[in-house]
């Protein structure tokens, strides 16, 4: 495939993504599925197959092949990689170990329930669907991790942020984020390390060594991180932050360690400095741009025809893992002493899956032909993209129509638990 990208291609990418974002905000949906679908439509599998001259009967526009964007293109691929790095960097930036430890009792309980129920269900599901242990591990991650980005945004948009249900939701997300950082390190080592057990152990060793090095850096390097960004100029601040972040993430990748994990720890290192606020303000638009490229790239790489083959798997996964999140979220709400209605809301919100599931999918593709057989990797990828498309829209819709769902379900829950309604 030609991996040459012209300026006009990049322009087309942003224009299409911008239109997709506009559509999403018009109908109050999350932008993520829209970016993915926009990418799919402009990719080689849809636009690339349209014979425009034959359709129009005139030669004004060339064949779709020449118009279609290409996920193999270096710019888009690197942009997507930067998107992953920024997403995880922000996760680390927001991640505060002290806060987590302060609330460890409840977060630990609610998060462990969430992990046991959903990761467990994912392992079983993955093993049944793909009949391999590594695939089961990937699917478990995909169905376990809720979308921090979508859920947090919906909480703010709907005003739930001021309600009691925000605490267990955000707390559980923190737990998930920490778990996923460790999970990504291990899984990417397993997947990228080839099929050989010894080799996989070696690469896990390298990964753990690298993470330990980063942890030591986080623990003892705070003063250095603090000093590294001491400047009055926004320009220098952004440049230095990017210099540190992308360099460390890139070095990690060169060593065969997940760049996402490295980015998470760099974010954690900065979270202990006074620059958090500035970094968030200055880098947020940068993150959003590259994250959009990442979702777009996921779409470009997806052949919609493959959905037909995995539609059954997606349906099974949706049917199994929607109730598991509803249940674990509900239990999490109860751990936080919330009433039936609010506990149900926690469950409804947590069903949303998004960016991190897709990052796991991109790892599966990266390992195709090595630790995972090529067709299996492709199927897992298509399965994940379809699954995220469904779950992101379903979860957002659940939150929007929570009132109606509560009206139906809450009386039953209360009748079952014999709780006395505290009156609305």
């Amino acid at each position: 495939m030609a991996a040459e990208t012209h300026l006009v291609d990049v322009g087309a990418l942003f224009a299409v993504a911008a239109v997709a974002g506009l559509l999403a905000s018009r109908i109050d949906q999350s932008v993520i599925p829209f970016y993915i679908v926009a990418g799919m439509l402009s990719g080689p599998y849809v636009l690339g197959t349209v014979d425009i001259p034959a359709l129009l009967g005139i030669d004004v526009l060339p064949h779709g092949e020449t118009l279609a964007l290409d996920g193999q293109s270096e710019f888009i691929h690197l942009g997507a990689e930067l998107g992953i790095v920024f997403l995880l960097f922000f996760l680390g930036l927001e991640f505060n170990l002290e806060r987590l430890l302060a609330a460890r009792h409840r977060i630990g309980k609610a998060g462990s329930v969430d992990l046991a129920v959903n990761f467990g269900a994912g392992l079983l599901l993955g093993f049944v669907l793909f009949e391999s242990l590594l695939a089961a591990l990937l699917v478990a991650g995909v169905v376990y991790i809720s979308s921090s980005a979508i859920i947090t945004k919906s909480l703010i948009d709907l005003g739930w942020i001021a309600n009691d249900e925000a605490n267990p939701m955000l707390g559980t997300l923190v737990y998930e984020d920490l778990f996923i950082a460790i999970y990504l390190a291990v899984v990417s080592a397993l997947v990228l390390g080839g099929g050989d057990v010894g080799e996989a152990l070696g690469s896990i060793g390298v990964a753990i060594g690298f993470i330990l090095a980063l942890l030591i850096l986080v623990q003892f390097g705070t003063a250095w991180f603090q000093r590294s960004l001491e400047t009055d100029s926004n320009e220098f601040l952004v440049l230095r932050a990017l210099g540190i972040l992308v360099l460390i993430a890139g070095a990690a990748l060169a060593l065969g360690v997940s760049e996402a994990v490295a980015a998470f720890f760099v974010g954690m290192a900065f979270s202990a400095t006074d620059h958090v606020h500035d970094l968030e303000q200055l880098l947020e638009p940068v993150r959003d741009v590259f994250a959009a490229i990442f979702f777009f790239w996921i779409g470009l790489e997806t052949n919609p025809q493959l959905f037909a083959g995995v539609a059954g798997l997606i349906a099974v996964a949706v049917i199994v893992t929607t109730p598991t999140k509803l249940l674990s979220g509900y239990l999490g709400g109860r751990i936080y002493d919330l009433d039936e209605r609010r506990s149900l809301r926690v469950g409804l919100g947590m069903t949303t899956r998004g960016e991190f599931s897709l990052i796991i999918a991109s790892i599966a593709v990266a390992g195709a032909g090595g630790a995972i057989a090529e067709p299996v990797a492709t199927r897992i990828y298509a399965f994940t993209v379809g699954y995220v498309l469904v779950m992101s829209i379903l979860g957002t819709t659940f939150m929007q129509y929570a009132d109606r769902i509560e009206a139906v379900l809450v009386p039953r829950l209360e009748a079952r638990s014999g709780a006395v309604s505290s009156g609305d």
């Binding site: 005003g159 942020i161 001021a162 309600n163 925000a166 923190v174 303000q281």
Partner: protein, 164 residues
């Protein structure tokens, strides 16, 4: 007055203030500096957004609420505790008070009451750390530091509604 504070990871902080009639005011302070104000009609009710403010606007409004520009109840003492023992208090100097026209040294404020005048608000300006030669004027707001008894003595000394 109970205020509940909780962390909102990735968003900011949340403060929930119990109001007098069982209503609750919820203030969400975003990491971006934005403040959102919600109202709950009772503890278990859903929050309804009242308004949101930018960081700058929020500080301005907070200052107004604090009474920095106008204290509606001048005669009532505004109390701020430094420690359990030490207070900072604001007193309005009644024009009828015998201290008007005297310097701090002449009035022997420290000797007679034990409080120190740390600042004087006079109209628009603030005299920080006034020296003993500063003359007290009618309608000055005197900011003093001292323990509870010293402050009470001072209140008696300046007259006004403390009575003499």
């Amino acid at each position: 007055m109970t205020i509940y504070e909780s962390d909102l990871p990735g968003v900011g902080k949340k403060y929930e203030v119990e109001l007098e009639d069982g209503e609750r005011l919820v203030i969400v302070t975003h990491n971006t500096g934005k403040r959102e104000i919600y109202k709950k009609i009772e503890e278990d009710a859903d929050s309804e957004k009242v308004f949101e403010l930018s960081d700058r606007l929020a500080r301005k409004i907070g200052t107004i609420l604090e009474g920095a520009y106008f204290q509606p109840v001048q005669s009532e003492r505004v109390e701020t505790m430094l420690t359990d023992e030490t207070f900072i208090e604001w007193y309005n100097l009644d024009p009828a008070s015998e201290l008007v026209g005297q310097t701090i040294a002449e009035a022997q404020i420290r000797e007679r009451t034990g409080v120190s005048i740390v600042a004087i608000q006079r109209g628009e300006e603030v005299l920080a750390a006034p020296d003993p030669e500063t003359t007290l004027a009618a309608d000055d707001t005197l900011v003093v530091v001292g323990d509870r008894d010293d402050c009470r003595d001072f209140e008696t000394l300046i007259g006004g509604d403390g009575g003499r």
